[in-house]
């Protein structure tokens, strides 16, 4: 089926399979491998991308469902002007280890920062709980996000 959508500000029209997942489309058709496959069941958040500004698990969304939407992946986020702040905070707090969850984590954080939903440590813990990290123990990520959100 023919669909069109915007990915990182670029308009794309493609013929896709009806059952094709957004994650596979981004990784295999567009070569945007920053979104990672892990749990396949919308638990871990490694495949998170922004669909019209909201964080979505691309492992559980058909690309056809994203037709007409604006998609932002980590590759697009990294080109935005305010990414430097995120990058600096995550680097300063060593808020990453293996880096596999990191792109999804940053996309969720960027969206929720904009929405003002990370205004306290409790809010950070609650609202980021859809993104798992097995390496860091979360402390560094919370510290980085708290810095960005001006918490504490």
């Amino acid at each position: 089926m023919e669909i069109s959508l915007s990915v990182n500000g670029r308009e794309i029209a493609r013929d896709v399979e009806p059952q094709e997942l957004l994650l596979d489309f981004l990784r295999d058709s567009l070569g945007l491998t920053g979104a990672k496959r892990s749990c396949d069941v919308q638990v871990c958040g490694a495949c998170t991308v922004l669909v019209d500004g909201l964080p979505v698990s691309s492992c559980c969304l058909l690309v056809a469902q994203a037709a007409g939407s604006e998609i932002t992946t980590i590759e697009g986020l990294a080109e935005q002007a305010d990414f430097a702040r995120l990058e600096a905070a995550f680097t300063r707090h060593a808020a990453l280890q293996c880096g596999f969850c990191t792109p999804g984590m940053l996309l969720t954080v960027s969206a929720l920062l904009k929405a003002g939903e990370l205004g306290s440590e409790d809010a950070i813990k609650q609202n980021l709980s859809g993104n798992l990290c097995r390496c860091t123990g979360y402390r560094g990520i919370i510290d980085a996000v708290a810095d960005l959100a001006g918490v504490g």
């Binding site: 749990c39 396949d40 990058e87 390496c135 123990g137 560094g140």
Partner: protein, 749 residues
């Protein structure tokens, strides 16, 4: 080769929290993992796995699968007649793909290579297998019953890296046994004032590295190339060469970034099957596991243990007896080493008059078990330390005071013939106790616990490194250590920079590619900073020595390097190559080891809700007794990550089996810790006594907290009134225990 180590006062590059060298790539999503890589002409592989726990394969019909458009080939056990298809670094007991029999739910039965993932998936669905059920050895206790069916009838053949002395013949389903004995336990128990005893179980646990096992294999003539997310590329290389009858140098393994390891990617995993499939297809093949597949690729051993501890009326620990059965699943994987390490951890670091430890590695019809961070110690520390606390309770002693009196001190024997204690355990436990406010009053239904243990760390101490000083003054370090999040590239850059008195930003660390990076035994057992780091230090010191030789004086500064190189080479090119090596002292045998004792010291404060059985971890503290922290921030992050995994292991992580079938093979029903499981306070106390064998007195860390935290939580929960002998501490299990205590009249709250 002598390492030139300067005095601490002059150190500018180590002991400093330099930013991670891989931060930019990883934050921008540019870091490449195997799953992100493409190789020309690459096919997609997919595996058909057994739906039953034990059975004979009567027939496999692949004819429909082979006809699906895009399918290049289907591999089964029948394709492996030209090689000896059994591998296993400890015991060669595992076929590359099932031959005649399946021995666990999830075992590889057939593999498809196809042009697209969709064609491969469709072909797997189209393969028809006729199984004849065999009796299932469903759990470890049944496996050791006399007359139990056998999981395998093969004789035990030692693998290339079993490293455990002579293998005894298989006793039924027991493939390996580790014994540790001291004195005469019977006599000690006969005269003890206090004896604490119990039966305990530890569940099967999934490591959940977020990146699943992924391999690309290419076979061209007599050359095999792999892109694999393996922790130990040099050991995998040897096993692949051995399996396919090639010289070691004809097997090349390139390891990009790993998306977590925690032991799950140690030793050989999906590599042999991917090579066999690529060999048949005649084209490169990628196999990327789904989470459910990685759960049956390796896991932590579940375990059953009987333990008793003897003490005097004033709380002096006298003796301990431990009998434990480790469920290694259908194939040994790293089970023998897990069991030996558990055996070493079983007595605990106290001044025993006598002990006996009998730890058995047992085959069952479950998926193979291997390494998971702090293996062995995590299994047994919570049991031993809960008995120490019970001794303290019966003797009316503060558990911290008992440990102050009876813990071993530096230099004391831990295991006959082995390395004496190389850490200040009393100092460590005092620090973590203080961090959870040990002496302050407790709220109702709240308890505090500490735990102390040791983990035999370092594995076999063989590592090498090369440093290249380039003509632009920059340094490249080649070292086989894999970067799986723990940060060796950052730490090694700091070490090399320190030796050469340059900024660590001028050092780049490359690895691992077995064709170009020098040999490093493995990335695990908390060994990289200690052993590979020492090799890096020596390699950098070697360059420094060459520069001094060129200058004819040791009075040179880093500003002189370029001029000295130009003097030596006569033009603006050339490079100085430094070599660093670490080899065992003595025979390097396991009995003489370990390289160092990794400290497993922690404390916890928990609160229990008796209405629901829910346990909340309020505070944790761990001691990162690292000798010398090369990068303190990365040390803290290691302990914090291990603490969260410890909370998961203690409170809710459990692989559930029914008659050999894994029932919870997705993250929907296998829960790992999220942000919301973080304790209110998580403290990592870095202890730097410069008592490690690594560079600047460093020794490894990052695993100990995973053994210490569950034990501290169990002790804290007992302190809150609920002694438990089964993990994980799920609300249901804790609630039932409270009901039992109420019936017994021993519920104190």
């Amino acid at each position: 080769m002598t390492a030139v180590v300067r005095e601490p006062a002059t150190r500018a590059q180590v002991g400093v929290s330099r930013p991670r060298r891989d931060a930019r790539e990883k934050l921008r999503g540019e870091a490449q993992f195997v799953g992100d890589m493409l190789v020309p002409r690459m096919l997609h592989g997919r595996v058909l796995r057994s739906p039953i726990a034990h059975g004979r394969i009567a027939a496999i019909d692949v004819s429909s699968a082979e006809k699906i458009p895009g399918v290049v080939c289907v591999l089964t056990g029948a394709d492996l007649h030209d090689i000896d298809p059994y591998y296993g670094h400890a015991i060669k007991d595992r076929p590359i793909i099932a031959i005649d029999k399946v021995r666990f739910h999830g075992e590889q039965v057939a593999a498809v290579a196809a042009e697209t993932p969709a064609a491969a998936a469709a072909a797997v669905e189209a393969i028809v297998v006729d199984y004849e059920d065999l009796p299932v050895v469903a759990d470890v206790e049944a496996a050791v019953e006399p007359g139990s069916p056998l999981v395998t009838d093969r004789d035990l053949v030692p693998g290339l890296f079993h490293g455990l002395g002579e293998l005894a013949p298989r006793e039924g389903n027991v493939c390996y046994r580790y014994r540790l004995d001291k004195g005469e336990p019977e006599a000690v128990f006969a005269h003890a004032d206090v004896v604490v005893e119990g039966e305990y179980t530890f569940p099967a646990v999934y490591q959940y590295a977020m990146e699943t096992h992924t391999v690309i294999a290419q076979v061209e003539g007599d050359e095999i190339t792999l892109w694999a997310n393996c922790q130990h590329p040099f050991l995998v290389r040897a096993e692949i060469a051995d399996l396919f009858g090639l010289p070691v140098a004809n097997v090349r393994i390139q390891v990009p970034y790993l998306g977590g390891g925690f032991g799950s990617k140690s030793y050989t995993k999906m590599e042999p099957l991917t090579v066999a499939l690529a060999r048949k297809a005649g084209r490169p093949v990628k196999i990327q596991n789904r989470v459910g597949e990685s759960m049956v690729t390796t896991r932590r051993h579940n375990m059953h243990c009987r333990m008793r501890t003897a003490a005097t009326a004033d709380g002096r620990l006298l003796g301990r007896e431990v009998i434990c059965l480790f469920d290694t699943g259908a194939y040994a994987d790293n089970g023998p080493r897990v069991v030996a390490t558990a055996g070493d951890a079983a007595p605990g670091p106290y001044r025993w008059e006598a002990y006996s430890v009998d730890a058995a590695c047992v085959y069952t019809n479950r998926a193979p078990s291997g390494s998971y961070r702090a293996f062995g110690a995590t299994h047994l520390q919570w049991i031993g330390e809960s008995q120490v606390d019970e001794v303290a309770r019966r003797c009316n002693l503060d558990p911290l005071e008992l440990r102050r009196r009876h813990l071993c001190t530096p230099g004391e024997e831990i295991r006959a013939g082995g390395k004496p204690l190389d850490a200040d355990l009393v100092g460590d436990v005092e620090k973590v106790a203080a961090a959870v406010r040990w002496d302050e009053p407790k709220a109702p239904l709240t308890g505090r616990g500490v735990s102390v243990g040791l983990l035999a760390a370092g594995a076999h101490p063989v590592s090498s490194a090369v440093c290249r000083l380039e003509a632009d003054g920059r340094v490249v370090v080649l070292v086989g250590t894999t970067e799986m999040g723990q940060g060796p590239r950052t730490a090694f850059a700091q070490i090399a920079a320190e030796e050469l008195s340059i900024d660590s930003e001028r050092v780049t660390v490359r690895g691992a590619d077995t064709r170009f990076t020098p040999y490093d035994r493995s990335t695990g057992a908390s060994r990289s900073t200690t052993i590979a780091g020492l090799a890096v230090q020596r390699a950098a010191a070697d360059i420094r020595g060459q520069l001094e030789q060129i200058a004819g004086t040791s009075e040179i500064g880093s500003d002189d390097y370029l001029a000295l190189m130009r003097k030596h080479f006569g033009f603006a090119g050339g490079e100085l190559i430094g070599r660093g090596e670490v080899a065992p002292v003595g025979t390097g045998s396991y009995a003489e080891g370990p390289v160092f004792w990794e400290v497993c010291v922690g404390a916890a404060e928990v609160q229990v809700d008796p209405e629901t059985g829910f346990v909340r971890v309020l505070r944790t503290a761990t001691a990162a007794d690292v000798g010398r922290a090369i990068n303190p921030q990365l040390v803290e992050r290691q302990d914090e990550g291990a603490t969260l995994q410890g909370i998961g292991n203690a409170l809710f992580e459990e692989m559930v089996y029914e008659d050999g079938l894994l029932m919870n093979d997705t993250l929907l029903d296998y829960r790992v810790p999220s942000f919301e499981d973080l304790p209110d306070q998580m403290t990592c106390v870095i202890v730097e006594n410069e008592d490690g064998p690594g560079p600047y007195g460093a020794k490894g860390c990052g695993e100990g907290a995973l053994a210490a935290v569950p034990a501290a939580i169990v002790n804290a929960l007992a302190d809150a009134g609920v002694p438990m002998n089964e993990l994980p501490l799920t609300p249901e299990r804790v609630w039932r225990r409270i009901q039992d205590l109420k019936k017994e009249g021993t519920w104190q709250q």
